[in-house]
């Protein structure tokens, strides 16, 4: 079992969600996050005073997948999230030791 984590541009969330649904993914978790990569931030000016906003708003999408589906999921996310401009984000995959479905108590691959 793997956890696919994607940091994407907020306006790309809908396309990524649709792409994952088309793959038959049963669930995902979305959080609003902020951070910076090579894009860095931007500058805002209030009454002449400049504020550098280093941390850019992004969306984090997390999907638990069975081992066999990982490549397909990663490719789908990358394809859906790409604009080709700086700040498109990153996708990474981590190993998951155990998964339990809270309602039924099913474990691991059955619970994904």
């Amino acid at each position: 079992m793997k956890l696919v984590t994607a940091i994407i541009k907020p306006f790309k969330l809908e396309e990524v969600k649709v792409a994952l649904e088309n793959l038959g993914i049963q669930g995902l978790t979305v959080s609003e996050v902020s951070g910076f990569g090579r894009q860095r931030g931007h500058t805002e000016v209030y009454r002449g005073a400049e504020y550098t906003v280093d941390l850019v708003p992004k969306v984090k999408v997390e999907v638990l997948v069975g081992g066999a589906d990982v490549t397909k999921v990663v490719d789908a996310v990358v394809e859906a999230a790409r604009t080709g401009k700086i700040g498109d984000g990153k996708v990474w995959v981590t190993e998951v030791d155990a998964v339990v479905r809270v309602r039924t108590g099913e474990r691991n691959e059955d619970a994904v």
Binding site: E44, V45, Y46, R47, G48, A49, Y51
Partner: protein
Amino acid sequence: MLHLLAADDVTVSIDSGNTAWMLASAALVLLMTPGLAFFYSGMVRAKNSLNMLMMNFICLAVVGVLWTFYGFSWAFGESRWSGLIGSTKNFYGLGNPTFLGSVWNGGAEAAATIGTNLPAGTTYGAGVPIIVFAMFQLMFAMITPALISGAIADRVKFWGWTLFVALWVTLVYFPVANWVFGTGWILNKIRAEDFAGGTAVHINAGAAALALVFVLGKRVGWRRDPMKPHNVPFVLLGASLLWFGWYGFNAGSEGGADGVAGLAFTTTTIATCAATLGWLLVEQLRDGKPTTVGAASGAVAGLVAITPACAFVSPLGGMAVGLIAGMLCCLAVGLKFKFGFDDALDVVGVHLVGGITGTLLIGFFGFDHGALAGGVEAKRGLFYGGGGKLLLVQAVAAGSVLAYSFTVTFIIGTILKTLGIFRVSEEEELMGLDESEHAESAYSFSTVLSGGLTHTPGSSADDSVSSELSGKGV
């Protein structure tokens, strides 16, 4: 301008048109203080937003009480001490039978009786009951200390501020209102022109703001930490409420419903439009973008500057006053960085600079409206062949109020600070004043963290959410 006479001199009857307009104007001006509260609150960080609202709202409460006891009397009672203060005896408690039955009269007899500068033949402001005028002027007394609060945002103890407001209106606003609006020396001896309070309200509050900024010092982390406005829509909403209420402030200052009120209404509108454009133009040229905060600030700068001038300039003159003020104030808000004083919300840059601008520009754009003003001759400024005398008088009025307000405010502020009841501790400041001063938070959007999903043990997952209340009042 309204002019007071001793209650027993009044014999004219009530004019229902004028009275209705003055009641409406008073309500309009009342709305300005909550409007200002939102204008200011939107500009501070979320952790101090309730405290900012409260610093403004408490002014309504405190000043309303003091006004009833002695405020109106000090500001508008018979002249004492060569025009420095009004008599306490006239209107104590706003309740004696003579007072309640009295009618304000701006007419010739009144002018002769109390030596005001209103020429013979005028009927403006006539027939308004004194108690209506007292309420109209109360709203001015409420908003003036509230204006100061923006300069010292994020760092003042709530009760310390409340005490300051009580002392400040007593020692500064009531006397200065007497000089400018009442029986005192600025209106009646040197005869400066200040239609709705460029000196008594804006220069007065702006100078006090400057003094308090020096007394209290900078906020922790000023120029190091980001201190962005937390709710820009509130800023524009507040500015819009101010603009709306300002019609009562400026056009209401005529004291009646007539052509001069219409002129004040007109110049107020046009100056505000021009000032908004002026501020945005400077931003575009200097910073590359026109901002929402800039539009709101420009509008307020225009309203401030046209306040003293609104019935003394032509509509085009008003446009010039607004444009100059909008551009000048946009540049002036940068002064605090140059000189290193933490005027958090630019009360000095907008109200002091805007107030001085408007007061002095009367000396240039002062205009005689002739027939509109019922044949009353107004003083002409430099651009209308009046020479430099008016400008000089305006400068004396502006400078006197500035110096008096700055000095007395500095003394009051220093005493309160020395007593340890004015500035919050560094720890409280970092925590935010909503929490440390009021034990509240402005925004509780998170259902998890605000306890909205607290669940009673034993109920099923589909049950409606219940929350447990515990507390002194429950």
